[in-house]
Symmetry: C2
């Protein structure tokens, strides 16, 4: 059992949307196919992987380091003990060989995309859906019959007025989503509050709406937004500050916790939980 070939292709996923930090005018994503020498029901097993938007296709890293490392590994080193399938954990260790700690960025996207394709191949070789395989291995076979999902949208884009934002959110509700998410922090606070109130006119209540600042705020702005958002009783307030703004990350939960201990509202407690 071996990997015959690994293909990677960067695909454009550009659009005119933007969040508080970046626009998506040149956005790309990698699609990976891990082609194995295993056949099931007359079909060759190929594992597929792709990654989320926002960090661009790490094609260079994949072709310079991670794909060659995997293809050059001793074939027996990437299999499980009885040789009946690929071992994603051993493959992960091979991918990360020679990698310094810290500074995960594009690297984690590259390795994660290969990892997704590996798990896809592993599940196909066991002829099970991946959710069932994961449940069998790590959860005594117990599968969740339902999972929570939400519609992440509400981006800024040119000529998108409040009515278009409302139409977008209505579409998500029509598709069956019970929670929608919208971007904040890409406009003035007052305009963001108008946008939030417009969406709240469409969704059942604040618990149907989450907001995402994509790391845009400094501590003061993060708190100002929190105070203004509080009365809406929103579902969550995501990524208030830069993940590498350690001072903000250290202080914001404490400030919020203090406010929560003063029993201000449960919203700030929830905000704390999502940081």
């Amino acid at each position: 059992m071996k990997i015959v070939k690994i293909k990677e292709k960067p695909v454009p996923i550009k659009s005119d949307i933007r969040n508080a930090y970046i626009d998506f005018s040149k956005m790309t994503a990698s699609v990976i196919a891990i082609i194995t020498d295993v056949f099931k029901n007359g079909e060759r097993v190929i594992g597929y992987g792709f990654h989320s938007n926002g960090r661009y296709a790490p094609s260079g890293l994949l072709h310079e380091r991670f794909i060659p490392r995997l293809l050059q590994a001793d074939p027996t080193e990437i299999l499980n003990d009885d040789g009946s399938n690929f071992d994603p954990h051993r493959i992960w260790d091979i991918l990360m060989t020679g990698e310094k700690p810290g500074g995960h960025g594009e690297r984690s996207v590259a390795v994660g995309t290969i990892d997704m394709a590996v798990w896809d191949a592993v599940a196909k070789i066991e002829e099970k859906p991946l959710y069932q395989l994961l449940a069998d291995r790590y959860r005594n076979g117990e599968v969740d019959e339902k999972v929570f999902v939400y519609a992440a949208g509400g981006y800024y884009s040119p000529n998108k007025d409040l009515s278009k934002l409302q139409e977008e959110m209505q579409r998500y509700l029509d598709q069956g989503y019970s929670v929608v998410k919208m971007k904040i922090g890409g406009d003035f606070l007052e305009e963001d509050l108008r946008r939030i109130e417009a969406v709240l006119d469409v969704v059942p209540d604040g618990q149907s709406l989450a907001v995402d600042a994509n790391g845009r705020f400094d501590l003061e702005t993060a708190i100002t937004y929190a105070e203004k958002l509080e009365p809406y009783n929103l579902f969550w307030y995501e990524e208030a500050g830069d993940p590498l703004d350690f001072e903000l990350q250290a202080n914001l939960p404490n400030i919020i916790k203090t406010q929560w201990q003063q029993e201000k509202t449960s919203f700030l407690c929830k905000m704390h939980a999502t940081l």
Copy 2:
């Protein structure tokens, strides 16, 4: 005034050395040349940049994102107000356009290498050494006549016994270095202590030797090493734990500070300062 072309080349800097985390058998680094249309004394101004070892040449990222972004920028946007030189800060902002916050890894290497080449070009256009240009801009022209440097070596490599380690350190002393650094954490504690003691037999005293664990240790091991290293009164103890092991990073200074407050030694205080 404009950038005519940007060249990048990954160059192998492979060797058989290793630190506590990675070996350098496939190590590469990017070399960048920013070719301008400026001529000084009959020579075209070209800014050069390269990066430190340990994270591989980010060639893909450079050619996929950062070099095109800079070349596609409006030429007037990359100049200072009077158009007399390139503006490294404006260029930095252009390079980071469309980049999500957080997850700096290869990205910071790529941008930093371009940044180095930009500053080199800027200094050449002002016909000053870069240290003088930086002093003029940010330090009222005051230049340090001396800077502290140390020799970072003492890697692990095959068949490198204690006498070879000692010879290496002696070479650094002969070259005029007053402080040398060696790797730790790539072998058992007892062996590392033997290696340290071998080097201490060569250098004047503990204050001439720094050690670097390259992020290898968990909290318990980091503290065990600290306790064993303390009597040597070393110059510093570098990168004890993984930079993304936030629990270790949060706890280690507190533990050390507590010990320091109990007036154990100044060494642990210094260790605190270098974390």
